[in-house]
């Protein structure tokens, strides 16, 4: 029992220390970001690997999530004779919740893990260290562009996901289930607010972008410089990002729509 308590204490201290390191790290990275304005190409290259390479999974998942929402929503709504509201149901769930959240989860699996692994391997093979010895700050040269690329890519990915989801639901709803196309769009426009729903969704995905990129680059930068350390960091990135996104989503939802 004493042993157990001691372990718990040690674990707590360790986690607190890590949180502190992560916060200081984030502040240093943020402080270095303005310097990137002189070298936008660095960020463009990272947006390619973080954003463009995630497009496929985002497009496919977006369409399918939308189609499933269309089917399920229709089956529920038709019982109340309210199948015209399908557009509203789909658009609200996608803009407010599913778009930002599912995109962030997919981002963690596709781009976050890749970021952690890449940075971890650069550390393990002394590339970061050699950069430091060349008087180049890896936090500015390596971490900064990747972090910024993640923050930029996330809202764009979420917007694409949401839009394609609505298209998917529209396709299923009007072609397969016979919902009137005009009613689909007009009902949707009638109840989706730009500021309250669309913009809040964008804010959510921006927050998720910061958190997911932060976790990914920090885990990579902080990992043990061994192959095992890198693999653990990659796993931690996916797990921590998913938990953080779901937890934050609750808080943000309570703040925005509560």
């Amino acid at each position: 029992m004493i042993e157990w308590t001691r372990n718990l204490g040690a674990k707590t201290l360790q986690s607190l220390g890590k949180l502190g390191r992560a916060t200081l790290f984030l502040l240093r990275v943020l402080a270095g970001l303005p310097g990137l304005a002189r070298r936008p190409l660095l960020v463009v290259a990272e947006i390619y690997s973080v954003g463009v390479l995630s497009l496929l999974i985002i497009v496919v998942s977006g369409l399918f999530v939308g189609m499933v929402l269309g089917l399920q929503g229709y089956n529920t709504l038709v019982d109340f004779g309210a199948e015209e509201s399908l557009g509203t149901l789909v658009a609200l769930s996608l803009t407010r919740e599913l778009g930002p959240v599912v995109t962030a989860l997919l981002f963690a699996g596709r781009a976050g893990s890749a970021l952690s692994a890449e940075i971890g391997l650069m550390k393990a093979t002394e590339q970061l260290s050699s950069m430091e010895m060349m008087a180049v700050d890896p936090e500015r040269r390596v971490i900064g562009p990747r972090f910024l690329a993640g923050v930029i890519a996330m809202p764009l990915l979420a917007a694409i996901f949401t839009f394609l989801g609505i298209i998917g639901a529209y396709g299923i709803g009007t072609n397969l289930l016979g919902v009137d196309a005009g009613a689909f769009w007009s009902q949707m426009q009638g109840s989706v607010s730009f500021y309250e729903d669309v913009l809040n969704g964008v804010i959510k995905s921006l927050v998720f972008g910061v958190v997911a990129s932060w976790i990914a680059v920090f885990e990579g930068y902080d990992c043990m410089p061994t192959s095992e350390g890198v693999s653990r960091a990659t796993t931690r990135t996916v797990v921590h990002t998913s938990l953080a996104v779901l937890g934050l989503d609750f808080i943000l939802t309570a703040l925005m729509f509560g």
Partner: protein
């Protein structure tokens, strides 16, 4: 070793005084004094695990000593601001044991990296400079290859070209010979000496390959158990009366450094009298 400060600034590039460093409970350096003179090849030797790489990281300011000071070109490395340290590092090249090339860049881009980061030279000039450095290490033809396509020796030569890209005052070599076949080893040995003399560099070679290192160095420090146990020219060290240094320089299997890691008596362990294996 009484060098007055005037001579110090002119002749000694790196001055290490009373260096103490420990990792956990293990003392790595316990009062080390080393002077590295300008224009010379200085070797720092010792058995594996004596913290030779650590020493290079201390000189480069990546680690902080627990006591003592390291002065490079008149500047105390560990009292510099971050910007000052970065300015100093531009004049140092460090060749990592693994080469530490950027795996996502070609050889050309690897060598161009420090130039692009620290200068605003036009592309044509960068190209000329990079080709010149690659020519110096004999790998101009390999410029479009990626590090994964290079042999270990070639990767180290590219890393060397990168280390001298900014024309540093000093190049630090971390185990440049380990794990090399005889040919690439010979190439590297030659290169270090040649570059040192042709570019007027100061070279610090950390190694445990006695013969190769002795062949090119002007001055050797032998470190063991956190202390300098021998210093002098290669010739002087070979003729030293220190038993330990002789064992190291002549690669004798047994001597003051025992063949066996400290352990309880073999006999008692075999008979299962004690120990965790019982």
């Amino acid at each position: 070793m009484a060098i007055d400060s005037a001579a110090e600034s002119s002749d000694v590039l790196v001055d290490i005084r009373g260096l103490h460093y420990s990792r956990g409970n293990k003392k790595i350096f316990d009062g080390v004094d080393i002077q590295i003179r300008r224009g010379r090849v200085t070797a720092i030797m010792g058995p594996s695990g004596t913290g030779k790489t650590t020493l290079l990281r201390l000189i480069g300011g990546q680690l902080r000593p627990h006591a003592g000071r390291i002065v490079v070109d008149g500047q105390d490395v560990h009292k510099l601001s971050r910007a000052g340290l970065f300015r100093l590092r531009r004049r140092m090249g460090l060749l990592f044991q693994s080469g530490a090339l950027f795996t996502d860049l070609t050889c050309f881009e690897n060598v161009a990296f420090p130039l692009r980061e620290h200068t605003t030279l036009p592309e044509s000039l960068i190209r000329n400079l990079v080709l010149m450095k690659l020519q110096a290490v004999g790998l101009r033809g390999a410029r479009d290859l990626y590090p994964s396509q290079l042999s270990g020796g070639m990767a180290r030569r590219v890393a060397l070209a990168r280390a001298i890209a900014l024309d540093p005052t000093m190049v630090l070599y971390d185990e440049p010979f380990s794990g090399q076949d005889p040919i690439s080893m010979g190439v590297l040995v030659q290169l270090i000496r040649l570059l040192n003399d042709a570019l007027g560099l100061t070279s610090v070679v950390v190694s445990h390959d006695v013969d190769e290192t002795a062949a090119i160095s002007d001055m050797i420090y032998v470190i063991s158990d956190g202390k300098v146990v021998g210093e002098g020219t290669p010739q002087a060290l070979r003729e030293t009366d220190s038993e330990w240094v002789r064992q190291f320089m002549s690669a004798l299997p047994d001597g003051p450094v025992p063949f066996h890691y400290p352990a309880p008596s073999y006999r008692s362990e075999l008979l299962g009298e004690a120990g965790p294996g019982a």
